[in-house]
Assembly symmetry: C2
Homo-oligomer: 345 residues x 2
């Protein structure tokens, strides 16, 4: 670990450390010749600046941190790519930091801020039930993506990018109704959910009611509280419960595409078919949904646009902190082949 430091570089070049520092950090007030000479020496000796020392000394670090909860959520994959690209385009460095499902993203944020001194933070996924106070402590500009904050009172306090999960669910379930379905089950998050799972559930309820259908609790299939909800495995389990229940229904609204896919598989394994025996709708618009067989009818969240909006919004807030705003995107209903039309609705 006896690696070369800025001092060594300075000594080799016969200059002071501050000059080397200037060379590294592209400071304007340095003789181009000396700069090149230093850069040359740096390359020849594989000098790598110590990031810890830099972060320790610096007050801010021209970097953007993305805090992601649920790193295996394919929904985020393309977002990351876009955010990184945009970040680098702005000549900021991009730091991805994963937060465990059990961790409080706010606590993690505080730590990362201390360590990295980023210019801004993007929160991908997770919940934000009662973090108002913590939110305020965060003195770094940030944008919430995909995150439901219940209370709209605190509008000024934060920026966010999302779809209206309630409305979009409503749209999907209304569509099911319009296709003649009347007995529509739901494969939902766990009952205690206070996040998007809840919003999507409520959109479902509202849509049914507005279509003159009385929601039937026997058609609610909630995830186990301890299960990882938005997974194919969970969808598979839930659908098997549906099959075992013997309840009569023609359609199911799965609150995510992965759940929908798992559900389809359960139907197939039971020797039945989608959409003939069960119509199944998803939510999110994952690539997987359109590659599946049958392709899943779903609500597509405009991930690319959302990612772009998130990073741009963040830069806006960085440049003018008064600029906080909530940006809500429209989802798009994509018709696949997982839903059939019932003639005698």
């Amino acid at each position: 670990m006896d690696s070369i430091t800025i001092k060594d570089v300075a000594r080799i070049c016969g200059v002071g450390v501050s000059t080397v520092s200037r060379a590294i950090n592209n400071h304007p007030d340095i003789n181009p010749e000396t700069k090149n000479r230093i850069l040359q020496v740096i390359r020849e000796n594989d000098y790598i600046p110590n990031n810890s020392a830099r972060n320790l000394k610096r007050t801010v670090s021209r970097s953007i941190v993305v805090l992601i909860k649920g790193i295996d959520n394919p929904f985020f994959s393309s977002m990351i790519r876009i955010i990184e690209a945009e970040t680098q385009k702005a000549r900021y460095s991009f730091i991805l930091h994963r937060v465990d499902l059990m961790e409080d993203e706010m606590d993690v944020a505080m730590e990362v801020i201390k360590e990295k001194k980023p210019k801004g933070i993007i929160f991908l996924g997770g919940y934000f039930s009662h973090s108002y106070e913590k939110l305020k402590k965060l003195d770094v500009p940030f944008v919430l993506v995909t995150i439901a904050i219940a209370d709209p009172k605190e509008r000024e306090q934060y920026s966010s990018v999302s779809v209206d999960d309630f409305q979009e669910s409503y749209k999907m379930v209304s569509y099911l109704c319009s296709q003649g379905h009347t007995r529509i089950g739901i494969l939902a998050a766990d009952e205690g959910d206070e996040s998007i799972g809840k919003l999507r559930f409520e959109g479902y309820l509202k849509a049914l009611r507005d279509h003159g259908i009385r929601p039937d609790p026997r058609l609610f299939f909630h995830s186990a509280p301890d299960a990882e909800c938005y997974t194919m495995g969970n969808g598979y389990r839930l659908m098997n419960q549906v099959l075992a229940s013997g309840e009569d229904m023609t359609a199911l609204f799965a609150v995510s595409d992965s759940i929908a896919i798992g559900a389809c598989k359960a139907v197939f394994d039971a020797g039945k078919s989608v959409p003939e025996d069960y119509s199944i709708a998803g939510f999110d618009g994952l690539d997987m949904a359109q590659y599946y067989n049958p392709s899943i009818t779903t609500i597509r969240q405009p991930v690319e646009d959302m990612a772009l909006a998130a990073i741009r919004l963040l830069f806006d807030v960085i440049h003018d902190s008064a600029n906080n705003r909530q940006q809500v995107f429209k989802g798009q209903l994509i018709e696949g082949n997982s839903i059939r039309r019932i003639e005698n609705g």
Copy 2:
């Protein structure tokens, strides 16, 4: 950013900074009472140690870094989970660091080492064509996962965990032959590939030859050099080329499950079916492969075992650096419904 430091804590408690440091780091030589008092104050004031300062000061940091190339590869998702769990079980902290597809993982490793001073590194994904020299510079124990190092001469230099991509491909293609297929195409990586894509391709060639089938270049469908190879989109494109080629074949070996799934979709969109018109085999054993319809016949890499082996091997090497070894796992052929048997082989 005027946050509280160790000095403040010391002042508040009326003790010296070193005592606070001892409390934080669980040093043995400290009065339990003072320790508790300090910890109490720390909690009350939300003191968060500055990681940069710690890393700067420390020579090693009781942490494991996982460097992952291709973070959206679902193949790695479960691995990460396992590695993290095991890492924490050993009371090490877990640092996940993503490396861009364009970056040299070795350079990134050097940087991260300087910054974090980890006890060990796990490389997930990526290539390692000619990095021997760089490898040696890495004076931190490390394990390569899923990475093909061509040259076996350097055995002593590194540890690795993988499957034998050549053998496993051979297995898969032999299976296709055994099912009576004789005209077997391949959906492969790009022609210049020097990594697992190449090994899998060669396994395919060997299997054909050993079964008395002469490989026919017209049945080789390589990815475009600039395409992201292991994706559904790429599989879709490749399969459309197959369909457009008019070449006669009954089966295709896709070098990954995602490619296989994309290929299936292309077949469906062409109004044909799997496995009736085309038998399609995959590789990897993603969850997705079994949830797909039809489920994909594939080679399952024992991800859980491999992840566990990787982290344990790493700890072994950390404790005894002479312990370098290469661990090769057997893949398991999982029969799905994507391959049909041809009677008159």
